[in-house]
Homo-oligomer: 74 residues x 6
Amino acid sequence: MSWLPTLQTSTPEEGYELAIKLSRMAVKKTQPDDDARARMRPEYANDADSLIASSHVVAVNFQTVALANNHWRE
Amino acid sequence: MSWLPTLQTSTPEEGYELAIKLSRMAVKKTQPDDDARARMRPEYANDADSLIASSHVVAVNFQTVALANNHWRE
Amino acid sequence: MSWLPTLQTSTPEEGYELAIKLSRMAVKKTQPDDDARARMRPEYANDADSLIASSHVVAVNFQTVALANNHWRE
Amino acid sequence: MSWLPTLQTSTPEEGYELAIKLSRMAVKKTQPDDDARARMRPEYANDADSLIASSHVVAVNFQTVALANNHWRE
Amino acid sequence: MSWLPTLQTSTPEEGYELAIKLSRMAVKKTQPDDDARARMRPEYANDADSLIASSHVVAVNFQTVALANNHWRE
Amino acid sequence: MSWLPTLQTSTPEEGYELAIKLSRMAVKKTQPDDDARARMRPEYANDADSLIASSHVVAVNFQTVALANNHWRE
């Protein structure tokens, strides 16, 4: 089973969750060691600039997912 | 009730508020501790570069919301 | 009266001004204290990297406004 | 006469020049003092990261200008 | 054989892999020395901000690839 | 002869090369001195964050070039 079978989601909220998943997967592909990523977590989770940068990546991925879903227009 | 039931808003201003909400939600998902986020607030709210970076994220999310609303064209 | 009644403008130059307004409003929403923002101004207005970062945000918002106006095509 | 009468240009190269103009104008609007901007120039013109950041802003504005010109498709 | 014969992929997951490839190729074009790139790897793979920045680039390239594939809509 | 006669290319790979050219040209326009740019090269070519930032700019320009070529869809 693929970790990314489709970009289509039922709701905007699920689409946002997918955007977060897309953002994290790129980090995982560059640093596959789970322990290494866990060690960095307290660092960036308590740094405002890192959190803003993370939110930026989610925003870019959410653009992609939203477009893939025609913005969930009714 | 979902925190993000739809990307459609009645007005551009409401769309801008939604873009801010989207920007903050990604931060909250990475740092769910309300106190931790509150502690960082004075830091980035008084740092010009952090504020510019925050505005950048809102701008990206506003692109998404504006497109979802066909730019509120009359 | 809304601060953002519409994304439509008569001219590209007015659209650019609106992009600046959108960029500044996100800063204001995060740091509503006028004095705090004024104190930061000399800092970022004399820092090349801050100015470039500001211009980046305007560029993103101008994309949105230009699209909303069909790029003011004649 | 407006500094930005139109986003349409005759050629891609002129469109690229317009993207540079758009990038610089946002800096000028934030720091209107010509001398202050001139003082910063040697600093960022000799800093690789500042130059990359400047190129990034031009790239975003060029997206806008290129779209406004239908990518100068023949 | 080109390293980039097409932007079309069969699945979203393959598209994501292509976005990673596009992100890395630009680095390789600027720093073609394999050893130099290998030396930098432990540095950025253990730096949260570098990882977030890498994920950002993948997100931008994934927008391009997803659009090229009409978001793999069924 | 213009350095940018068209955004159309025959293949995705040529499009990617054009994106690199667009990214470098903005640097050249800001710092026209060839020697100054050459002096900075070892610095950013051995700095992971600079390389990631460079790749980001290429990604943005590649979006533009890919769109101009209708993503080289067959």
